[in-house]
């Protein structure tokens, strides 16, 4: 499904320790237009709760979050 979604910004968050993956997504969400999508790849398992929690509390949307090998991949849509 994620292949059909246009990604506006790729964020390589590999090696960053929580909460920095969430911090980086938050810092960069303003770089995509409303409706735009960030694809973020992290390696810290804590991001699996952190990034969706940040998105929910800021009114943004996680379109998908999943583990691919040793990486955690997120598609985050800027809603406002």
């Amino acid at each position: 499904m994620s292949e059909d979604i246009k990604v506006d910004l790729d964020l390589d968050l590999k090696g960053l320790l929580c909460p920095m993956p969430m911090v980086k997504v938050s810092q960069r969400i303003g770089d995509v237009p409303v409706g735009g999508v960030i694809r973020a790849v992290a390696t810290d398992p804590g991001a699996m709760a952190d990034i969706p929690a940040w998105a929910k509390s800021t009114g943004n949307e996680v379109l998908s979050a999943g583990k691919e090998g040793d990486e955690y991949v997120f598609l985050v849509k800027r809603v406002k």
């Binding site: 320790l17 909460p19 398992p45 804590g46 699996m48 709760a49 509390s57």
Partner: protein
């Protein structure tokens, strides 16, 4: 600014106006000794970051609305309204402060500028000018606990990933990361990341500790944001867990502010005495080494190594010797910085600054004194038990290509343990 808005902001000060705060606001002699104590002022020479100046902004509002002299002759007593200009100045000086309290240490009256700035943050939040990033991080932490069922499975899945690595590391297929374990002696409160769980889990395993891992991280961005209610609720998450599980002690991971919140603030915020002890993980590890519960290879580290006292663990937390004893137990060439312990220079990474993108350049610049100290030791490894300090020192390291490794203290312990890996 409209009267109603002013009343709101002065009401915030009034609520914060303890005898202690009033004393701090009344007694500053403007001797400026604090200018030589603040790493930010020393590095920049910018008046905005002079500790006495930071406090002066709150003092000006205090004089206008809480003293007769300032109310009737404001120009003579430098009393001011909390107008937009003052709030903008207050924002810059307040959220830049790391809360290291080195200024308080050298102040002849022990004026706690960080305490005054906690009132400043409350004013800024009431004015809608709280730092957005720190507020978001605090809200995200509460989102996880307020909707715990939604996040529980991914949190536990993350722990299971770390548990797999623990089994490999220890060579013990029965090694586990227990969660929600009633009757455990210790509730260990890590950060959200695996890096703060795995070394501690291996050490607890080796020591045979009856422990359990908290579902929640110890980091508290509500504290950095300056919202005491949110900060209390964030800490409540694991304090309530500890009470429910009936543990004997809560052990906080290598995180400076989280330790200080848990050890010194939470009881006051919640109005309840903890029915358990609170300790920093390095106090526990030091005890394990001295009691022979874990065995380390002496001389496991031969490269020159130094130790950075995080302000919230050292000067403000009183833990100085245990980390040094641990480092000496594993390293042959320990070189302390000068000055150290209570006089240690702040590295510049505290106060939540590592999360604030627009402060990055300033933050790294403010690390000048720390950089001098590190270079003077000739160390190739820096150990420090605070995530924010490590991020800052890694930033300094990268910026200047120093080739130094920055490590948590418990990683050194892990490296010196005889494990199959």
């Amino acid at each position: 600014m409209e009267t109603q808005a002013i009343n709101t902001l002065t009401g915030v000060i009034d609520k914060k106006m303890t005898r202690q705060l009033k004393q701090y606001l009344d007694i500053c002699a403007r001797c400026a000794i604090c200018k030589d104590a603040c790493h930010q002022y020393v590095a920049t020479g910018d008046f905005t970051y002079l500790p006495a100046r930071r406090a002066e902004l709150i003092r000006q509002i205090y004089k206008k609305y809480f003293t007769k002299a300032g109310e009737f002759v404001p120009a003579l007593y430098e009393a001011r309204d909390p107008d937009e200009n003052l709030l903008d100045e207050l924002y810059e000086s307040t959220y830049a402060c790391t809360g290291c309290r080195r200024c308080m240490y050298y102040c002849p009256f022990s004026i706690d500028t960080a305490w005054i700035l906690s009132a400043a943050k409350a004013i800024l939040i009431a004015a809608g000018k709280g730092n957005e990033m720190l507020g978001q991080l605090a809200d995200a932490a509460l989102m996880k606990s307020d909707n715990f069922e939604m996040f529980k499975d991914v949190i536990i899945d993350g722990f299971k990933d770390v548990e797999g690595k623990l089994k490999e590391l220890t060579g013990d297929p029965s090694a586990e990361i227990p969660v929600d374990k009633e009757g455990a002696d210790v509730l260990y409160v890590a950060l959200a990341g695996a890096h703060s769980i795995l070394p501690a889990a291996a050490i607890f395993h080796e020591a045979g500790t009856n422990w359990t891992l908290s579902m929640f991280e110890s980091a508290n961005y509500g504290y950095f944001f300056g919202d005491a209610e949110k900060a209390r609720r964030i800490a409540d998450r694991f304090m309530d867990e500890a009470k429910r599980l009936g543990v004997k002690e809560v052990v906080i991971t290598e995180c400076g502010h989280a330790y200080r919140v848990a050890q010194f603030f939470h009881e006051a915020w919640s109005g309840e005495k903890h029915p358990f002890k609170v300790r920093h993980i390095l106090e526990v590890i030091d005890e394990y080494i001295k009691d022979g519960r874990i065995t380390l290879r002496p001389g496991a580290i031969t490269e020159p190594i130094t130790y950075h006292d995080p302000c919230q663990v050292g000067r403000n937390g009183g833990i100085f010797e245990q980390p040094r004893d641990i480092v000496r137990a594993v390293a042959t060439d320990f070189r302390d910085m000068t000055p150290n312990r209570a006089e240690q220079w702040c590295c510049g990474g505290g106060g939540g600054l590592v999360a604030i993108a627009e402060m990055e350049e300033f933050r790294l610049k403010s690390g000048a004194k720390k950089l001098e100290q590190i270079k003077a030791t000739g160390a190739r490894i820096i150990a420090s038990p605070c995530e924010n300090c490590r991020l800052q020192m890694e930033g300094l390291n990268d910026q200047l290509d120093l080739g130094i490794t920055v490590k948590p203290v418990m990683d050194l312990v892990l490296d010196a343990m005889d494990l199959p890996r």
